[in-house]
Every structure is written in C-alpha cells, then in structure tokens.
C-alpha cells in the first residue's frame, strides 16, 4: 500500500513539472535624450552680427526649436558678401540686413562675410579659407588694388592732353610772332 | 523363546568375524559430490543520470552470492548490445560500458568461488546528447562458467 501511494505521488509530481516548460519574457529599455539648447557658432568677417539687439560673441546658446532673427551690420565701407547658415548659402534670404533662421534643431555654424563696397563680389571665394587670408583682405591698400583701365589717376599720360599742349604752344608762338610784326609796322610808319 | 534369540545372536556375531582388515593394506574408496552453485543478481533497469560535464552515466552493481564452482572455474559476465540509445523521435546517443576492476577478455565482471557475497560495479557512460528526448536500449547480460 505504501508503495502504491509513493508511485501516485511521483506520477503527480512528474506531470506538474512537464507543464512548467512554458514561455519566458524579458524586457529591454531604449532611451534617448534630446537637448534643450543648441550652440550657434559665428564666423564674422568685416562687420558684426546682432541677436536681439546684442552683438554676438564667438558662440551663443539658444533654446531648441527657437526661431531667431539676426541683424547683419557691416563695418564702414563694407557690404554683405555672403551668408552661410548651417552649411547652406542663404545670402538671398537676407532682407534689410536681417536674416531669420529656421527653427534651431542642432548645433549650427553661422558664417557671414562682408566685403569693401567698391570691390566687386568675388564669387570664386565664397568665404575666407583661413585667418591669414582674412588678414590680407583686411589690410589691402589702394596701391595694391586692381586698376581699372577706364579710371584716370595722377601721373597717367593721356594722348588728348598731349595734342592740346602742342596746340597751345603753337598758338602762343603764333601770337608772339604776330604781335612782333605789328610793332614793326607801327615803327616804320 | 529366549533361548532361540540367544542362539541367533551368537550366530550373527560369529558370521561377522571373517570380515576383518588385512594386515597387508586394502584401498578404501571415499567419495562425495558437491554440486556447483551460484546466484548472480543483475539490475533489471539502468537509468543514466546527467553529469556535471553534460554527459550521462550510471554505475550498475552485479552481485554474486553463494558461489561454489569447480577448482579453476569462475563466473564470467559479458554483455551483448549495439551500445546505442535511441529516442522516441529517432535521435541516437552512443554509450559504452566500463568493466569492473581486474577483468580480462570481453567480460565486464568476473567472480570466483566464495561463500561471501561478491559485488562488481560496471559503469554505463554516454556522451553529451545533441537532442533532448526519452532514450532507451536493451542490453543482454550473459552469465557463464569458464
């Protein structure tokens, strides 16, 4: 009788254990952080930039998604040459020396180049490649500037002036001769 | 009646007298027979247990008792098997048998004449199975005297 009870108990335990081979679940968490602010880094040549009436330094920190308007102020004798915002040429979007940037969604570079007003825009160089080059452009003098063939400068020789000078000398000589001849006639009469 | 019995008794005694040993040496044959016997107990079922290295094995004890054989004889236990466990689904698992100590030839166990119980332990050893399942095989223990 005890043997029979043992067998029944073992069989029951066996059945319970087989049904426990079931399903298992385990979780994993995915996380991400979106920053609340982004940095705008400025490269300014030949002027200054203002944001909210305040000149900007090398960098400013703005809230994410912020729409910011910048005022572009060239130095005296300079005008806007090119504006690169977040890698894109947005010069055409500047209106009344102001540029409104799209919502700020990542760290961005703001590069603005002003050029002397009497120099044409040099489209081959959208913006200075190095600080050395910037120094060269800033210190350029009229003597080293490219001469325009149609502009006359002191010391230049003009053919028309030469012809006029010869004519003037001849006229003076003729006048002297005529004046001397008239005096001779008056003396002999 | 009493007289007749006495006469008969005397006659019996006198008739036994001529049967006496010779003083010269006569062989006497003494014999007895002892039948050989033994009992060998083998396990009816051997269930392999999982080992720490992932293999499966089990020790099986074979016991011989009341072994009484002719001089020079012994009991030899051998196995007949394909040494392959097969699962219900057809997966196969090979196994081997490690004989008991001090065994020669193809035997897995050997016993000698001894009235005390003798036990030989053999080991059934299987490898690491690739598939799970209920595996089984039948092995035949062959006991003989040699």
């Amino acid at each position: 009788m005890p043997m029979k009870k043992t067998a029944v108990l073992l069989l029951t335990v066996l059945m319970m254990c087989i049904t426990s081979l079931g399903v298992y679940a385990e979780s994993a968490t995915i996380a991400a952080q979106v920053p609340g602010t982004h940095t705008v880094t400025f490269v300014i040549e030949g002027g200054k930039v203002e944001a909210n009436g305040t000149p900007v330094d090398h960098t400013i920190e703005l809230d994410r998604q912020r729409v910011q308007t910048y005022r572009l102020i060239p130095d005296d004798g300079y005008i806007l040459d090119q504006l690169i915002y977040d890698g894109e040429d947005v010069t055409e979007q500047v209106t009344n020396n102001c540029f409104t940037a799209p919502p700020l969604i990542r760290d961005t570079e703001f590069t603005v180049i002003f050029r002397p007003s009497r120099l044409p825009q040099d489209s081959s160089k959208p913006f200075p490649q190095s600080s050395t080059e910037q120094s060269i452009r800033r210190t350029s003098t009229p003597s080293s500037q490219t001469r325009d063939a149609n502009t006359v400068h002191t010391g230049d020789f003009n053919e028309a002036v030469g012809y006029f000078t010869v004519l003037l000398v001849l006229s003076l000589c003729l006048l002297i001769v005529l004046t001397g001849h008239k005096q001779e006639k008056h003396t002999t009469s | 009646m009493k007289r007749i019995a006495s006469v008969l008794l005397a006659g019996i005694i006198l008739s036994a007298v001529p049967v006496t040993a010779s003083a010269e040496g006569q062989d006497t044959r003494v014999k007895f027979e002892v039948d050989p016997s033994y009992t060998v107990i083998i396990p009816p079922e051997i269930i392999l247990d999982p080992q720490s290295d992932g293999t499966y094995a089990k020790d099986a004890a074979i016991t011989a008792s009341d072994v009484r054989l002719k001089y020079g004889q012994g009991i030899t236990v051998a196995l007949e098997s394909d040494y392959t466990l097969t699962s219900d689904e057809g997966a196969e698992l090979a196994y081997s048998v490690i004989p008991a100590n001090n065994v020669s030839g193809d035997a897995v166990a050997q016993f000698k004449t001894d009235t005390a119980d003798q036990t030989a332990v053999i080991k059934f050893q299987a490898g690491v199975p690739e598939f799970s399942g209920n595996y089984k095989d039948t092995v035949t223990f062959v006991i003989s005297v040699s």
């Binding site: 254990c17 298992y24 | 016997s37 059934f124 092995v139 005297v145």
Partner: protein
Amino acid sequence: MNKKYIAAASAAAVMVSMISVPAFAVDYPGGSQDTRISTAIEPTYTVTIPADTTVAFNALSTDFGAVTLESAQIDPGKAVKVELDASGSLKNAADADKTIAYTINTADNTAFTSASYQTAGDTTALKIDITQEAWDAAFAGSYSDTVTFTVSYVDAE
C-alpha cells in the same frame, strides 16, 4: 554591451528508478537476462537578448545587440522562438504625447518581429533606426520605451 540570459529547463526528473523493481537472478549453470538502459533528457536552451540601450541624439542607426541561441538541447523537430513586442515610439518622460518614432531592424534593414532557432549559435543582429525627420521634429527632453522579448518552445516550421 551586457546581455540578458534566458535559460529554460524542465524541472522534471524522471524518478522511475526510485520505484522498486525486483532484480533479475541468474543461477547455475548460467544464462542471459535482458536489462533496459534508458535516460530522459529534458529540453534545455539559453537565449541572450539585447540589453538596455541609449540612443545618441541625432543617431540614425544604433547597435542594439543580438538575439542569440547560446546553447540548445531540444527535441528533434522543435525550435526556440523569440518574438519582439515594441510600440515603435519613444515617449517623452514629461509629456507622453511627445514621441520619437523608431524601428528595430535586422542588419538587412528588415523589421524584426520574431525568429526561430534550432542550433546553438544561431543569432540575429539588431539595430534601432530613427529618421532625421523624427529627430528634427523632436521636442527637448528624455525619451524612453520598453520592448519585450518573449521566448517559447515550439514546433519547428
């Protein structure tokens, strides 16, 4: 990257041997006796799944580890199936209405929903993909989501 392990084994131990069975006796002059050799090998397997992962801001594709059948001793004709339950949206901790859409893909850019494995070493590498548009539209804050891997023992397909 840390891995998470799921090990499964039936707790059943075949205890038939504990049931007393009379031994076989062989007497002189000898003979033979059949003995049954048996063993019950329960299915076992270990699966590793990806651990908690942080996606860097603006990252379009992030390594998300792999689902791997590390070890397996299963019945012939059976397989270990791993299913993924993911909402596809990272939720802002401060405002659950603000979300960032993501997908969990395999190396060949196929969306991962489930896979079955039969051999130890079988693995599926995973990655978390978020589009640039999703990042650009995201509001500032902390985002997260919990995905669940469900492992089951099934018939092989």
